[in-house]
Symmetry: C2
Subunit: 156 residues, 2 copies
DNA sequence: TGCAATTAGTTTCATATGAAACTAATATAT
DNA sequence: ATATATTAGTTTCATATGAAACTAATTGCA
């Protein structure tokens, strides 16, 4: 017997709904930081963030890391190249692949944003003990593992 | 001393990033359920879900409950009315307000979807103990409280 | 070898989205 | 009472998005 009424959906207690609300609020706060100050869209920031921790990777690898679809990545990459935040050249081993890197300017923007977003994260978990933070991360990982299984089902 | 390197951003351990990834995966699984089977957009489903637990409310109240902006709500409502899933009339007390309700057909669709999404939620937390589920909800609520404070700051 | 299948990435097109301006109704202040 | 501000909801417009079709390169296999 659970505390939830059989067959009834209370949004405020519905995990996907709560997660989505909190996620949207956090995204909003983050984007105020990097969008307004550095004129980056969320997509552009995500690509930038991945390149910040991976010296040189292809657009395709960015897709796999971020779960953003390839059209969106392609567009974000084009814009970042235009803004001279990243550079793109063709791989000599596989001439379909592009090799992406942060430019000097890109590194500099990246280094400006990182402390800002880390500070926001710190603010978010400020009231949680070290144990609670770990607990939250672990539970979220468990849930992610479960949703991955569900997604597998749909694909076959 | 934390395990994270000073000033370095590791996306896989960055809370907003993890939350966003998991949220996207869950949204995808849910939308496969209600979008493909009942031809509803995520916005439409959210409006439907709110009306499922609130007999009759206005578009504005839906905005406040769901944190969806009023333009999106207006459009979702228009579509749902067209599909005869909800009905709309003007309030006699305040003729700007609309009074929204599920139609019979809407109630029926709602009742079909609810068990499906509850089953998905159950699958998501399947591996968690009752204590862990509560723990997760509580920690998420704490984080939401913190992000609300941050949002307040930006507004002044 | 050479031809089909796959992969990386881009373009196209139709739809979704959000900000700002708008309309209509109500509340507030003088 | 009347002008002003606020609120509910819609429309407009410019941009973002994702699916599908496309190009070009590579791989697999008969």
């Amino acid at each position: 017997m659970t505390s939830r009424q059989f067959n009834s959906l209370i949004l405020d207690k519905f995990l996907p709904y709560r997660l989505s609300i909190v996620n949207n609020k956090i995204s909003e706060v983050l984007s105020v930081t990097y969008a307004k100050q550095f004129d980056l869209t969320p997509m552009e920031w995500r690509v930038l963030a991945v390149l910040g921790q991976n010296e040189s990777i292809s657009a395709d690898e960015i897709c796999r890391f971020t779960e953003i679809d390839k059209v969106a990545v392609s567009r974000a990459v084009t814009k970042l190249v235009r803004k001279k935040i990243i550079s793109r050249k063709r791989s000599t081993y596989d001439r379909r692949r592009s090799i992406l890197r942060l430019t000097k300017g890109g590194v500099s923007i990246y280094k400006s944003i990182v402390p800002l977003v880390l500070e926001i994260e710190e603010n978010l978990v400020d009231g949680l003990s070290v144990y609670e933070r770990k607990q939250f991360r672990d539970l979220l990982a468990k849930i992610e593992y479960r949703v991955d299984s569900l997604r597998m089902l749909y694909k076959f």
